[in-house]
């Protein structure tokens, strides 16, 4: 069983969301997801300033095995992207919940966070996979 931090929120499509408490969130993909994908070789990120809506395919994680779309788990404006991934996509493998973060979003509606899964809900969703 992979690590699922309890302080994060999750989407069934394997993104995690960390509430920074200032109207922004940090988004990444879960340890479980990186394990399924295998060694990461390229990551395509949205641009800072992009307006994204829940469910949009906004990024791509390309591993040795396959290219996988990453979906916006929440709506808002992209305010930062993890530029270290350009040269070190393997951060997604080694530290999915930390240095392997993807991008930060300024929320349109903080209430949307309530629609996401908690750690237990996400754990149940991957059991059903």
């Amino acid at each position: 069983m992979s690590n699922i931090p309890s302080e994060l929120k999750y989407a069934t499509s394997h993104e995690w969301v960390r509430n920074e408490g200032d109207g922004t969130v940090t988004i990444g993909i879960t340890e479980h997801a990186q394990g399924l994908l295998g060694d990461m070789v390229f990551v395509e990120l949205p641009d800072v300033g992009d307006q994204i809506s829940t469910g949009d395919d906004v990024a791509v994680a390309e591993s040795v095995k396959a290219a996988s779309d990453i979906y916006a788990p929440i709506s808002g404006e992209v305010v930062a992207v993890n530029e270290d991934l350009e040269d070190s996509p393997e951060l997604l493998n080694s530290d999915a919940f930390g240095d392997g973060w993807l991008f930060k979003v300024k929320l349109d509606d903080a209430g949307e966070l309530e629609n996401l899964l908690d750690a237990e809900g996400y754990a149940n969703s991957i059991d059903e996979d």
Binding site: G38, V64, A67
Partner: protein, 362 residues
């Protein structure tokens, strides 16, 4: 039903992620396939290839039989232990399998064929044996370990006894020798130096452990695929199959046209194809921007469409490479396009060989 090799427990012990490979439960990686790939390019790695099928062909007609069965000519083999890479065709000139043949004497040969094609290969070989004085014997009682990389031979040497060291001393590429209980061959599927070692099953786990203790890194099918693709080596089922001519699979070099009276299976069809000059060809593709070329993506050229047969990210080069079957008029050095995730990207066409002995070769 899932087959397990004699090394299955060693893989689990090493934390391998196991996958189904044509009915065999095999390691895809032991953590990171990219690290495993680099180990083979820079040091030494090992692969469990015990799932591959060893078939011994013996008897008065062994040579005549093989001269009929495969497209290369075993009559070229005159030095004991010398090996030959070739293909076995059906009557329509399609590739049933690619294989390696080791020569010991005119009445004694060893074949190593793919595991995925084992059943049909054996059926075909038996069918073609009619009228030849030979025996066809599968040898499932052996395991096989490929040890590959610039330090592979030196690390293996630390485990061999004096007679075995002498037996492999100075052995040229593509040779095999029975040395004590081990059959040791200078063959491989990575583009690096090294050995493929056939070992009695009851000794296989010990040999694997000794190699681990000699700092040889266990490598899975994932690294095996990126290594063979960088080396420009075909994978049966992706780069060719029964519907594909060896001429369209970069295997023309394994066809022996001389002597003209050697009537190998598929010769008539291949002769017509060669005269017509209309078979597509297998080329290498290079993508230097982001993205990874994958099997079955469409290739668009001024001479018509082609298809990627194998594509991957090349850990050695840091960008994507592929093999693709394209119209024959496409030339090395041309730029063509690949349809990748709904976009068209430009790729360079080169000879299908990317990395040898740790170095870029294009």
């Amino acid at each position: 039903m899932s087959n397990k090799t004699v090394l299955h427990a060693k893989h689990i012990e090493a934390g391998a992620k196991m996958v189904d490979f044509y009915g065999w439960e095999m390691p895809i990686n032991y953590g990171s396939q990219i690290e495993e790939h680099h180990a083979v390019r820079t040091d030494a790695g090992m692969f469990d290839v015990s799932h591959m099928t060893i078939v011994d062909i013996k008897g008065n007609d062994a040579k005549a039989y093989l001269r009929r069965l495969v497209i290369n000519d075993v009559a070229k083999l005159t030095v004991a232990g010398k090996a030959l890479y070739t293909g076995m065709l059906n009557h329509d000139g399609g590739v049933i399998d690619d294989l390696i043949i080791y020569f010991f004497t005119d009445t004694d040969y060893r074949l190593v064929v793919n595991s995925a094609t084992r059943v049909k290969d054996l059926a075909w070989m038996n069918e073609q044996a009619n009228g030849f004085d030979i025996t066809i014997t599968e040898r499932p009682e052996f395991g096989m370990i490929a040890v590959q990389g610039p330090q592979a031979k030196a690390k293996v040497a630390t485990l061999l006894n004096a007679e075995q060291i002498q037996a492999v001393d100075g052995m040229k590429p593509f040779f095999g020798v029975q040395a004590g209980d081990l059959f040791i061959a200078t063959t491989g599927y990575t583009g690096e130096n090294g050995y493929e070692i056939v070992v009695p099953q009851d000794q296989a786990a010990d040999l694997w452990q000794q190699l681990l203790d000699a700092d040889v890194k266990p490598c899975g099918l994932g690294a095996r695929d990126t290594l063979r693709l960088e080396a420009g080596m075909n994978l049966y089922g992706l780069d060719m199959d029964e519907t594909v001519s060896p001429i369209a699979a970069n295997m023309a070099w394994t066809i022996s046209w001389e002597p003209e009276d050697r009537d190998f299976i598929g010769r008539k069809v291949l002769t017509q194809q060669k005269a017509a000059g209309d078979q597509p060809k297998l080329v290498g593709l290079i993508l230097e921007e982001k993205g990874v070329l994958r099997s079955h993506q469409k290739v668009i050229t001024p001479f018509g469409e082609g298809e990627i047969t194998s594509g991957t990210f090349s850990p050695t080069l840091g960008h994507s490479i592929a093999m693709a079957r394209v119209p024959r008029s496409v030339k090395f050095g041309d730029t063509v396009e690949v349809e990748m995730r709904k976009k068209l990207v430009k790729v360079l066409v080169i000879k299908p060989s990317f990395v040898r002995n740790g170095k870029k070769v294009f």
